[in-house]
C-alpha cells in the first residue's frame, strides 16, 4: 500500500437484505474514502444505512456489488484480515458485563495479540485517557453509560489500529462523557495519524470532523468538509428575538411562514434559517440578528430537500378539547424531600421541586445522577423510601390509579408491543385508559391524522423506523388526553429532523395547558424547557429557567456559555466538591 493512499476505499457499494418476502436496499451506489490522520464523519437520519455501511467497512458484511478495500485488503477476499487489523466499535459495544474493567481490557489485548511487554504502558495510556484508572476492579455492569462507552473504546484501542471505525459512540451518553470521548479520538488523530470513520446523531459533533458524508436512504447525499457545508449557508442564519416574548412564543409566531427552512428555540430567542433567495419577512416585534451558520443548518436543509415533508410539523397539531381552563390545580407536580435507597446506596437524596400547569419541566443530569429513579417514582413505578409526591393534586402513594388516569408516559425505549400492528397498539392503550365508543373512535382517528400514521396502520411496530416508533409511542401516551405527560429521554437516538418535529408537538401541547416533564441528554433541548432541574449524585444542583442556569456558569473565560458549557461546568464543580468532601 502506497504511503499517503487512503486507508479505506469504498467503491460503488450496494447491499440488500431479505426481510420476509421483500428485498430491502440498505445501501446503494456509495463511494468514499477515509484518509489517514483525519476524522471522517457519517451523518444521516435513522434508517439511512449508517450501521450497515460501518459493518461493511469492518468486514462483517460483504457487499452485493462494488468493493470495500480497508488497509489494502478487499473484504471479499480477505474479510478476516480486515477484522484482524481494523479497530471497530459497534453501536452497542459488547462489553462483558460480568467482567471487570481490567479483565475486559485483558481479554481484548489477548484476542488482538498485544505483546505482554507493551501492555503496562498501553494500559496506563488508555486508563489515563479514559479516566477509568480508579475503576480497574469494578465490574463493567456497574459502570455508568458514559464509562461503558469509554471502556468500549479503550478495548477497541488496546492495539492501536491504523483505521478506526466507530458506530455512534456517543449515543445515550451525557455531555461530559461525550466531550471526553471526543478528546480521546482527537488525540489519536493528531498523535498517531490514525484514520477514523465515525457515525453520529449529534450534529455539533460533525464540526469536529475533517470530512463529512451525509447519508440518506442508503445513498450519499453530499460530502465535503463541514466548513463547505457552512459556507453554503452564509448569510441565511439569524437569531430572532422579541421584547419580553419567550423563545417558544416567537417560534409559534414564525410557524406559518414558509420563508424559513428551520426554526429552533435557543436561549431567549429562535434560531432561524432562511430559504435560499427568500426575502426576510417583516414581523412586528421580532428582531433578526445575523449569526454565523452551523453545520446543522445545512444538514436540515439538505434533508428537507431530499424528503419534503409537511411544511411545519407544529402546524398539524389539532387543538385538544378542554384546553387550559379546566379545573386542574395550578401546581401539577409537587415533590417534597423525596428519597430513595437501594440497599445502603442513596440514589435520590431528599429532593424537592414543583411543576406548574402548562410548563415544560426538564430533568437533567449526567448518567447515574438519579434522574431515572426520580422519574420512575413520579410515574408511580417505584415507591419512594420517604418524602411526599403529589401528581395532579393526588398523592401517588395512596391514590395511584386516579393519578395514573391523568398522566401519559413515554419511556426511552419507546415501549410498544412489537408483534402488534400500529392500530392494535393504539386500540389497546385507548381501551386500557378506559376510552369507549364514539370517543375512542374519535381519538384513534385523531392519532392517525395528527401523527400521520395512516400508511403504517396495519404494520407490526417492530418494523417501524425509530422516528415512527417514537411518534406512535407519543400517540399512545396522549390517546387519553392526559393532563401531565412524562417523557423519559424521548429523543434518544432519533435524528435531528424527527427531533424538531417532536418538539413542535410538545410545544403545542404545552400551549394547550398540558404539563410536561422530560429528561434529556441533548442540552439544546433543555432550551425548550420553562424550568430545569439539574441533578448530580442524587441531589439537585441547580433549578430555574434555562437562562438562569446558564448565567450561573458565566465566567471571565466564558462570557456567554451554552447550556452544554453550563452543564459541564456546574457538574464538574459539584462532583469535585463532593469527592473532596467525602
Amino acid at each position: 500500500m502506497a504511503a499517503g493512499a487512503p486507508l479505506l476505499e469504498v467503491h460503488d457499494v450496494r447491499k440488500t437484505f431479505r426481510a420476509a418476502k421483500e428485498v430491502i436496499t440498505a445501501v446503494s451506489d456509495v463511494s468514499f474514502t477515509v484518509p489517514a490522520g483525519a476524522i471522517t464523519g457519517l451523518l444521516g437520519p435513522d434508517g439511512a444505512g449508517k450501521t450497515t455501511l460501518m459493518r461493511l467497512c469492518a468486514g462483517l458484511l460483504l457487499p452485493d456489488s462494488g468493493r470495500v478495500v480497508a488497509l489494502g485488503f478487499d473484504s471479499r477476499q480477505a474479510a478476516y484480515r480486515i477484522q484482524q487489523s481494523v479497530g471497530y466499535m459497534p453501536q452497542r459495544f459488547g462489553l462483558y458485563e460480568d467482567l471487570t474493567v481490567q479483565e475486559n481490557l485483558d481479554l481484548f489485548a489477548d484476542l488482538n495479540g498485544v505483546a505482554r511487554a507493551l501492555r503496562p504502558a498501553r494500559y496506563a495510556d488508555l486508563l489515563r485517557l479514559t479516566g477509568l484508572g480508579p475503576f480497574g476492579k469494578r465490574l463493567a455492569r456497574d459502570l455508568s453509560g458514559g464509562m461503558k462507552q469509554k471502556l468500549g473504546l479503550a478495548c477497541t484501542l488496546v492495539r492501536p489500529p491504523r483505521l478506526l471505525v466507530l458506530d455512534e459512540p456517543t449515543v445515550g451518553v451525557d455531555p461530559i462523557s461525550r466531550r471526553e470521548l471526543w478528546a480521546i479520538v482527537s488525540d489519536l488523530v493528531s498523535g498517531s495519524g490514525t484514520g477514523i470513520l465515525v457515525s453520529t446523531a449529534y450534529l455539533d459533533e460533525a464540526e469536529r470532523c475533517q470530512n463529512v458524508l451525509l447519508v440518506h436512504r442508503g445513498k450519499v447525499l453530499d460530502q465535503g468538509p463541514p466548513g463547505d457545508f457552512r459556507a453554503r449557508m452564509a448569510g441565511r442564519s439569524f437569531f430572532a428575538t422579541g421584547a419580553g416574548a419567550s423563545g417558544r412564543a416567537i417560534q409559534a409566531s414564525l410557524a406559518g411562514h414558509g420563508e424559513f427552512v428551520d426554526a429552533v428555540v435557543q436561549r431567549d430567542g429562535v434560531r432561524v434559517v432562511l430559504r435560499p433567495d427568500a426575502p426576510m419577512p417583516v414581523l412586528p416585534g421580532i428582531a433578526f440578528t445575523p449569526v454565523p451558520p452551523r453545520f446543522e443548518d445545512a444538514f436540515v436543509e439538505r434533508l428537507r430537500e431530499a424528503a419534503p415533508g409537511p411544511a411545519g410539523a407544529m402546524a398539524s397539531m389539532v387543538p385538544a378539547q378542554g384546553g387550559p381552563q379546566d379545573g386542574s390545580p395550578e401546581v401539577m407536580i409537587e415533590v417534597h424531600d423525596l428519597r430513595r435507597l437501594f440497599g445502603s446506596f442513596e440514589a435520590v437524596r431528599g429532593i424537592s421541586f414543583r411543576v406548574h400547569r402548562g410548563q415544560i419541566f426538564g430533568l437533567l443530569g449526567a448518567n447515574g445522577a438519579g434522574k431515572t429513579t426520580t422519574f420512575r417514582m413520579l410515574c408511580g413505578l417505584l415507591p419512594p423510601s420517604s418524602g411526599t409526591l403529589t401528581v395532579a393534586g393526588v398523592d401517588v402513594r395512596s391514590a395511584a390509579a386516579a393519578a395514573r388516569a391523568r398522566m401519559g408516559y413515554m419511556s426511552q425505549k419507546f415501549s410498544l408491543y412489537g408483534d402488534l400492528s400500529v392500530a392494535q397498539n393504539l386500540a389497546f392503550f385507548s381501551a386500557a385508559y378506559g376510552l369507549r365508543g364514539a370517543r375512542r373512535a374519535q381519538r384513534l382517528r385523531w392519532a392517525a391524522e395528527v401523527f400521520e400514521l395512516d400508511p403504517f396502520w396495519d404494520i407490526n411496530t417492530t418494523e417501524l423506523a425509530l422516528g415512527f416508533k417514537q411518534r406512535l409511542a407519543l400517540a399512545c401516551a396522549l390517546i387519553h388526553e392526559p393532563r401531565i405527560l412524562f417523557l423519559d429521554e424521548p429523543t434518544s437516538g432519533v435524528d435531528p429532523l424527527a427531533r424538531r418535529e417532536f418538539w413542535g408537538r410538545i410545544n403545542a401541547l404545552a400551549e394547550q395547558g398540558v404539563t410536561i416533564m422530560v429528561t434529556t441528554h441533548f442540552m439544546e433541548e433543555a432550551e425548550y424547557c420553562d424550568e430545569l432541574v439539574l441533578m448530580s449524585l442524587g441531589s439537585i444542583l441547580a433549578a430555574g429557567p434555562p437562562a438562569q442556569i446558564r448565567a450561573r456558569a458565566k465566567t471571565e473565560a466564558m462570557p456567554d456559555p451554552t447550556m452544554d458549557d453550563a452543564f459541564i461546568a456546574l457538574i464538574a464543580a459539584h462532583e469535585a466538591q463532593t469527592r473532596r468532601a467525602s
Binding site: L416, F428, A432, G434
Partner: protein, 371 residues
C-alpha cells in the same frame, strides 16, 4: 363497568401477542400434538417382541410344544435357537437377547414319568422393571402350558388356583394408564409456555412499565394475562383428549363435567404457578430456569410414571404441593374408573387452594418485585 373494557382490551392484546407471530403459533400447537403421539406410542410398560434365545437340550415332543407356545406369543420374538450353552452368557451381556431359556435334557422324559421337568430362565436384570415384566410373561406362558399338560395328561390339580381380574383395565394395558397422564403433562407444558415468560418478556421490553402507568389495577392485569392461558389450555387439552379417546382408544367412562371442572381448576393452578414464576423473574432467562425447576420435579412427583405410594414418606408429603398430582388422579379417575364430581372433590379443593395462593403471589409481584 370501566374494568370490563380494560380487561377485554388486555385479553385481546395477549391473544394477538401470542398468535400473530408464526414462530410462537407453531411452538404452541405443533410440539404438544407431536409429543402426544410419539410419547403415547413410546410410553408403555407392556413388553412386545422381547428378544429371546432358546437352548433346547431335550429336542423332544414336549419341549417342541413348549417352544411353540413361546413362538406363538406376541410378547417374545425368538432370536436364535442355540445348539450349545457357550454363547448364552455373551448374548445376554451384549444385549442381543434379553432372555435365555434352557430346556433340560430330560424334559420330555420327566414329563412322561409325571415328574417335574426342569426349565432354566436367565434374564438380563439391567432394567429391573423390564426383567420383572418379562419374567411374568414367561411364567404366564409356562402356566398355560402347565394347565394344558395337566388337563390332558391326568395330573393332580393344585389345591387352590388364582383367578386374577383387573378392574378398569382388564388387559392391564399400560397405555391406558400412560395416555391420560400425557394429557396432564402436555396441558402443564402448554400452560407454562403461555404464561411462564409472559411477564418477564414484557419487563425486558419495557412494556410492562407502560402497562403499570395505565389505570389497570393489578388484578385486571392478572385476569388479562391468565385468560388466554385458560382458553388455549382448554382448547389444546380438548384436542389432546379427543386424540386420546379416538386415536388411542382409551376408554372414557366417567363424567365429562368432572373432567372439565378438573381441567379448569388445574389450569387455574398451573397458570398461577406460571405467572408467579414469570413475575418474579427480571429476565426471560430467569423465567426459563424457573419453569424448568418447576416442571421437572412436577413431572417426577406427579405419579405419571412411578406411583406416589412407592415414594418415601417425606417425598410423598412434597407431592401434595404439586398440582399435576391432583390432575392425574382426576384424569385417570374420569377416563378409566368412571368417577364423578362427588368422588373427586378432594382433588378439586387443593387445586383451588394452589391456584389462589400462586395468583395472589403473582399479583403482588407485578408491582413489588425488588429491583
Amino acid at each position: 363497568m370501566g374494568w370490563y373494557g380494560r380487561v377485554r382490551a388486555l385479553v385481546m392484546k395477549e391473544f394477538l401477542a401470542l398468535l400473530r407471530s408464526k414462530a410462537s403459533r407453531t411452538v404452541l400447537i405443533v410440539p404438544p400434538l407431536v409429543q402426544l403421539i410419539v410419547f403415547s406410542f413410546a410410553a408403555t410398560f407392556n413388553l412386545q417382541h422381547v428378544p429371546v434365545v432358546i437352548y433346547d437340550q431335550d429336542q423332544g415332543g414336549a419341549s417342541r410344544e413348549l417352544i411353540a407356545r413361546f413362538a406363538g406369543s406376541r410378547y417374545f420374538s425368538i432370536e436364535k435357537m442355540l445348539a450349545s450353552s457357550q454363547h448364552i452368557a455373551r448374548m445376554i451381556s451384549d444385549k442381543e437377547a434379553l432372555l435365555a431359556i434352557r430346556i433340560g435334557p430330560r424334559f420330555s422324559q420327566d414329563l412322561a414319568l409325571h415328574r417335574s421337568a426342569r426349565v432354566a430362565v436367565l434374564v438380563d436384570g439391567r432394567n429391573s422393571n423390564t426383567a420383572l415384566v418379562a419374567l411374568g410373561d414367561v411364567n404366564a406362558v409356562i402356566q398355560s402350558f402347565d394347565n394344558r399338560w395337566a388337563a390332558t395328561h391326568g395330573w393332580h390339580a393344585a389345591p387352590a388356583v388364582l383367578v386374577e381380574r383387573a378392574w378398569f383395565n382388564p388387559d392391564l394395558r399400560s397405555r391406558w394408564f400412560i395416555v391420560p397422564g400425557i394429557v396432564g403433562l402436555l396441558t402443564l407444558v402448554v400452560a407454562l409456555l403461555v404464561t411462564g415468560l409472559s411477564v418477564a418478556r414484557e419487563r425486558e421490553a419495557g412494556t410492562f412499565d407502560q402497562l403499570l402507568v395505565t389505570p389497570l389495577a393489578p388484578w385486571e392485569i392478572l385476569v388479562g394475562k391468565a385468560f388466554p392461558g385458560f382458553l388455549i389450555g382448554t382448547l389444546e387439552a380438548t384436542l389432546i383428549i379427543l386424540v386420546a379417546v379416538f386415536g388411542f382408544g382409551v376408554p372414557f367412562v366417567g363424567s365429562i363435567w368432572a373432567l372439565y371442572l378438573g381441567l379448569l381448576l388445574f389450569l387455574l393452578a398451573a397458570i398461577g404457578v406460571g405467572l408467579a414464576i414469570s413475575s418474579a423473574s427480571a429476565t426471560q432467562q430467569q423465567g426459563l430456569l424457573g419453569v424448568f425447576l418447576f416442571m421437572v420435579p412436577a413431572v417426577i412427583l406427579s405419579g405419571f410414571a412411578t406411583p406416589i405410594a412407592n415414594m418415601p414418606r417425606a417425598v410423598q408429603y412434597l407431592t401434595y404441593l404439586n398440582p399435576l398430582r391432583y390432575f392425574l388422579i382426576i384424569l385417570r379417575g374420569v377416563f378409566l374408573e368412571g368417577d364423578g364430581i362427588a368422588i373427586l372433590w378432594t382433588q378439586y379443593v387443593p387445586l383451588i387452594f394452589i391456584g389462589l395462593v400462586t395468583m395472589t403471589i403473582a399479583t403482588f409481584l407485578f408491582r413489588h418485585r425488588l429491583t
